[in-house]
Amino acid sequence: MDAQPTSAIVADRLVKRYKTTTAVDGISFILPRGSVTGLLGGNGAGKTTTIAMIMGLVTPTSGSVRVLGAAMPQERYRVLHRMNFESPYVDLPMRLTVRQNLLVFADLYAVPDAQARVLELAADLDLTDLLDRPTGKLSAGQKTRVSLAKALLNRPEVLLLDEPTASLDPDTADWVRGHLETFRRTHNSAILLASHNMNEVERLCERVIIMKKGRIEDDDSPERLLARYGRANLEEVFLDVARGRSRHPGETVK
């Protein structure tokens, strides 16, 4: 698989095996710059391992993954300042205030005029009143917004999001999705989004990759997936894939 100059992420026959399990089993995909792709799959499908390999946190057993042309993890320092991520499984230091956390990470990412950028993001994500509060004292939804602010500090060209609206009330979640759409449009960033919220995936993603047992089970636009499975929404498609139901037109869905 050739890496196109316009590609943000290129995974080529990517495999990750641990001692007794194969977490990712030969997956390939290309994500163009400016695209938003949903990564779906049940627990243990291989989503987190795939994202970890893209971030350079896990070394593939075989195959390769390139981000903005750099092989991960070998050439990660060429591109880490151009990417970022947010995950509910990773926290920011609790005793530091929101402002302190964001300023520390702004310096780690060499963000120019860090103070102004922090204030700008705080305004965008409705964090201004929280800037001087310890991060650990915030509600789950507020923490998610702070993590999102950290992920957007360096205006990443590649943004990896793991459940970005988990713990948010519907109104705030909708507002965050709107912000992500705006960010993608204005910065032409590639966003890879792992989520169990099918409405979110339908709204944000122009492409959906469905994983099961470490393999890509399906990969298409939401509209074509709905048509192919004969379903009204992605949740039903997801259940069809998870339960091994047929996806071919004309076949009876059990």
Partner: protein, 272 residues
Amino acid sequence: MSVLEAASEFSFPRVGALVRRYWYLLRSSWPRILDLIYWPTVQMLMWGFLQMYVAQNAGFFARAGGVFIGSVLLWDILFRGQLGFSISFLEEMYARNLANLMMSPLRPVEFIAALMVMSLIRLSIGLVPVTLLAIAFFGFNLWALGIALAAFFINLILTSWSIGIFVAGLLLRNGLGAESMAWTIMFLFLPLTCVYYPVTVLPDWLQYVAWALPPTYVFEGMRALLIDHVFRGDLMLQAFGLNVALFAVASTAFLLLLRSARQQGTLLQGGE
């Protein structure tokens, strides 16, 4: 990547950012600051009063004024230096922040540099007041050792960093399951580096082990200074040579453990 390339990519602002992160944490928590001072003070007082007692009952100890207090203060440089390094690293694991750092442009060498700076800061907060108390209670002035103290300090802090780097590698590879190593590994050095007694006390075969460890030279050098009033520069140079080798071995081990952590997928977990 060549050494020159690595050096050219080294970023002081990134190191500064991480040091700020630990400093914010330290100053926000008075129990953390108290913890830095409490135990060194207790130890210094205990050994100081013991020294006073035996000095009244044994002629040798009367001549060797301050040797116990000197030992405990130098031991604290070694022990607290490593602990200051390792605790800062552990704070990242407790905070579940390690993946954020590993995913950022922060280089491992910058991470280590920040931990070294924090080790010095924590050591200063903990030990400077205790050295002043030693003057007040027992008339023992560690600072009066002058250039010898500088040589002792450099060698001890280098050893403590080497051990801290190795422990950080173990934590990356094994998660918090290896946490106890951070707290206890230095106690292996306590009997072997002859903190409170001369190397000749050890069995012959164990003396070879003791002389392979840099701090042994420092503690022998301290006794030579306090008892015989001789500064043994030769011992300090030998300790420094061993420290350079130990630092290289620890850094290599850290990089190998980090590579293994990437292969095993433990950087995202960091749990038990």
